[in-house]
């Protein structure tokens, strides 16, 4: 789509803030339009990276499951992790990537809970890798407007 979606939303957000809000009499409605402008700003930032960050994260989680499997001594969990590690993103709609991401993150919670209970060096290594990935996941989602 041209003009580019992210640019359109950026310009529309600026227009709402600079031109529309000052023309509104009610402070409540000014606030509402201000929130809509902020949402446009977030959409403009998220639009271009939305698929990319999900594909990257899904791949990283599958890789993590594959690497972690030997440290998992619950056979059922190990089998499910290895099965998820073999999945692929074939449908690149955001909703499909998001569904895959949810399944992978739910399994990540199970893996994390499991290795926390074990004291082996392998379990600690997996736990460190999980924390590193969780930190990375917040970098992928970070917004320029975020307070933190």
């Amino acid at each position: 789509m041209r003009p580019r979606v992210e640019t359109v939303f950026q310009v529309m957000a600026a227009d709402l803030i600079g031109r529309v809000i000052p023309a509104i009499g009610s402070s409540y409605h000014q606030g509402t339009i201000g929130m809509v402008a902020a949402l446009f700003g977030i959409v403009s930032e998220e639009w271009d990276r939305a698929a990319s960050r999900r594909v990257e994260e899904n791949d990283r989680l599958r890789e993590l499951f594959r690497e972690s499997a030997p440290a998992v001594n619950d056979p059922s969990l190990r089998t499910r992790l290895l099965k998820l590690a073999e999945t692929r993103d074939r449908d690149f709609h955001i909703s499909a990537l998001e569904n895959n991401n949810c399944a992978l993150r739910a399994a990540l919670i199970e893996l994390h809970t499991h290795v926390e209970l074990h004291t082996s060096a392998e379990a600690r290594h997996v736990e460190d890798a999980i924390w590193a990935e969780l930190a990375k996941s917040t970098e992928r989602r970070r917004l320029m407007s975020a307070q933190f």
Binding site: Y28, T32, I42, L108, T138, R142, A146, Q147
Partner: protein
């Protein structure tokens, strides 16, 4: 169907039977927290022949809100602290019967001419008074912590809790919110909750009144940096006073995009002001637990706001904005507290 102005006038006549020529006008919806519809209006009437006028606030329950709260508790908290060293607006009438205005509500006195916006507090002339505002902000929070709930008449209205159960009750509740409302898995919050259950805090030094949402954005301030009213008591409850301190220090309230808490002062300074005013100790390990809890509670609110928008009738943009804008920051705050933010 009668207008809201007419319905309000009719209701107020019931509460002020001696008043004559009651009239409500200049009704305007305003931003007033996320859990209730808030309106300001002018009340005019004659009292024993004298013309009178009051500026009032109506807080009415919406169909769905960001936070599930009990208006009776909010009303009781305002009533309890009115006239004390904790400045709050006066509240007048609480009404549970939906036949008057379509849903339950309460009415209070408007405090006019002040600001609440976190964006405004970063601008001049307010920015020049950050230390002064912060001194009052955390001193007032200390006064809330020091207050005796029994003397305030809040025991009975607010559910009691034993000192060693404060943490568990709150964590159980907010974990339950995540369980019921999360639309996507929350691995960081789940890890935080597991750690918190393995490492509970010591019993509360005292069971006090917890405001529940004490932060920049929920108090009225003026151009000279004076705080005139603490607002939004909808999540007030009895509990560990460190809960409020931890919430006030939450990274998502760092409005200036730096380390200053509430956009005002460094964390250590805020804690020192609170300790002096409350007479309580902010044990570092206990406070760490409550700061981490604040991230779970915050995420619970952002998750439930997304859930309310997606599944309910309330399509207020604040439900989406709070979720989109704050969830990742809340995760990062938890990671930082757990020592895993790279």
């Amino acid at each position: 169907m009668a207008s809201l102005e007419a319905s309000l006038a009719e209701y107020i006549q019931l509460k002020m039977p001696a008043a004559a020529e009651i009239r409500v006008d200049q009704l305007e919806q305003i931003s007033g927290g996320a859990s209730r519809q808030t309106y300001r209006f002018r009340l005019s009437y004659r009292d024993r022949g004298q013309a009178r006028e009051r500026r009032l606030i109506l807080r009415r329950d919406p169909s769905a809100s960001l936070i599930d709260t009990d208006r009776k508790i909010e009303f009781a908290a305002y009533k309890a602290f009115f006239g004390t060293s904790v400045p709050v607006p006066e509240v007048l009438w609480l009404e549970d019967d939906a036949r008057h205005l379509g849903s339950a509500f309460f009415i209070g006195v408007e405090m006019t001419g002040f600001q609440t916006s976190p964006a405004r507090i970063l601008m001049e002339p307010y920015a020049a008074h950050h230390q002064k505002i912060a001194d009052q902000k955390w001193s007032i929070l200390g006064a809330i912590a020091a207050a005796d709930p029994a003397k305030l008449g809040l025991v009975g209205t607010m559910e009691s809790v034993a000192p060693d159960q404060c943490w568990k009750r709150e964590l159980d509740y907010w974990e339950g919110v995540l369980d019921s409302d999360e639309l996507i898995p929350q691995p960081i919050m789940r890890a935080a909750i597991r750690w918190m259950r393995r490492n509970p805090p010591p019993p509360a030094q005292k069971v006090g009144v917890v405001h529940g949402d004490y932060r920049t954005g929920n108090f009225l301030f003026d151009e000279d940096g004076r705080i005139h009213g603490i607002l939004d008591w909808e999540m007030a409850h009895l509990g560990d006073p460190l809960e409020d301190l931890g919430w006030s220090l939450n990274r998502v309230w760092c409005w200036a995009h730096d380390d200053r808490r509430g956009g005002l002062i460094p964390r250590d300074q805020a804690i020192a002001i609170w300790e002096k005013a409350s007479g309580l100790k902010a044990d570092p390990d206990a406070l760490h637990w409550w700061e981490l809890f604040a991230t779970v509670k915050g995420q619970g609110i952002w998750v439930s706001s997304a859930h309310a928008w997606e599944t309910g009738e309330n399509k207020d943009p604040i439900l989406v904005l709070s979720s989109w804008a704050l969830m990742n920051s809340q995760d990062r705050a938890a990671l930082e507290l757990m020592g895993h933010l790279q």
